[in-house]
Amino acid sequence: MSLIVADNITKDYQTEDVVVHALQDVDFEIEPASFVSFVGPSGSGKTTILNLIGCLDKPSAGNLRIADTDVIGLDRKNSAAFRGKHLGFIFQDFNLIPVLTVYENIEYPMIMVQNIAPQERKERIARMLAAVAMTDQAQKYPHQISGGQKQRVAIARALVTNPALVLADEPTANLDSQTAYAVIGLMKKMRDDFGTTFIFSTHDTKIVGEAEVIFRLEDGHLTAKEIGGGAKP
């Protein structure tokens, strides 16, 4: 059974004078534990589609089911609860909480979103820190580590609650190419280790090649679904 089923998704934005069609009649399905990328130029609708899948926004029309839940029908509070339970987020600007250490940033969703017991928390954080190779940086604050390290912490934070799906909007945009490949490689490894579905958006053609499934977007239309270079033979 598909993890995500999008059926005729349309998203319009009303500005003062005109209606902007950000997405039009988009259909797709995404399988569990896949490594998916939405690609396209600026304004093609990549971020819009990730926002819809991330339950941060609602489509103007169409149906969207994630983990067998009609997410369009969720109210504000249930939407937040759904995100906390099923989704993880990786942001372009890392968005770590500056007053918390690396350790505490990873711990945050387990305390504030899910109520996980202290011992279990400790174990999961240790596992995540080791997985993203940040164990020795655990007590540092975000301003004390590099961009690549911040994104690794963000990956750990996104995965620590064992979500079914991690969404990453342009996760490598603020990283140099070497670090970008390392981050994508880490995400893939995490997918392999934890069976989590990763969906990321990018306009970097080299990075796109790392995805197993590529959805191409243009002017709000889904123009192609391709098997990426990252797909297992």
């Binding site: 941060l56 509070k77 906390g84 993880g88 600007d93 968005n95 007053v99 945050y108 969703p109």
Partner: protein
Amino acid sequence: MINLFKIAIRNLIRYKRRTLLTASLITIGVVFVLVFVSISGSFKAMMIGQITDSMLGHLQIHRKGYVASIDNLPLNLNMKPKAYAKIATVLGATPEVEAFSPRLKFGGMFSNFLETTNIRLNGIYPEREFKTVPLLTSRISEGKKTLNRGEIMIPSLLAKGLKVKLGDAVVIVATNVDGSVNGKQFIVSGILESATGPGGRDGYVHIEDAAEVLRMPEAEVSEVAIRLKDFSRLSAEVKELEGKFAGEVNKEGRPMFEVHSWEQLSPFSNIARMIDVMTFFIKIMLIAIVLISIMNVMIMAVYERIREIGTIAAIGTLPGKIRSMFIIEGFCLGIVGAIIGGLLGSAVILIVNLIGIRFDFGQQQGLLLKATLNPSELLTISVIVIVVAVVASLQPAIKASKMEPIEALRHV
């Protein structure tokens, strides 16, 4: 909850200068209010103590209509011995009453055989009077602290004006209730310092002597001064005694007696009320300071952390927790301001006491201001500050919790 506090405290530390300024403003407000409340409250308590313990007593009982005509000291509105006996029986059976003293008040002429002037006198039973108004003896600047038959204690202004000294013979002449005049010679046994308020310049004689001057076969009573064991129960006791005397009616079926608290008898009660009003407005000012400063800092905090709010909302933090995070920040600021303000305020009050501020009030000179800080007052002010800090944080906190994560994440 601990984690919410941890994040809130770290966010406050993150903006050190702003937090410090806001906390300082609250602290200064708390110190100012504490010192004001302490000094004005102590001044009020001291003056009330002076008035009640040296002249009026905590409350008084009169015959109905006497207080309305008290300036004339009307002898025809005195209580007869039988009526007083009823009062004495009731008061004797009231456990909250520590002491009571019957007084026979009258006006007369005071003469040193060379000059004559008018005087207001209280006929008293000295032992009972000194128990009811214990500070009366401290007003005796010259002479012995007792009063026997044939002796008189006169106010210092009168003694100075007529050049009367201790041991001098003087004559009191007074109009009796039937309109005739009578006189009696007294020996000056004490000079009294004047006090502020009604009766502050009265003289004292023994009640039996007063009855003799007024040609009363038995001493009548103009008023009964009462001292309570617990002054804080004044209002309750006034009501209780009013209830007890409600059944005592005259021939016309009207109440025979009136019960008055010191507040109804002394103009200082208006000053005391003014002090209360000023204290109230000072507290309002403190509330305004805390409200505006915390609201300002929290609005700034929300505005500066919009992307952070978006992030934590996106990863699933429920709106209630986001709200709590900001409310706790305001709460912590309030706590810090209240604690430091409380400590500094107490220190300032201690210094004021160590310096020893003296002041004059009316006829009383060199009164030592002894500022005391009531723990309940300290607690009240602290609670006000903390509650207002939380209330001030509510609007920014609600705003933060209602932010759409997608819009917050887009914020630059």
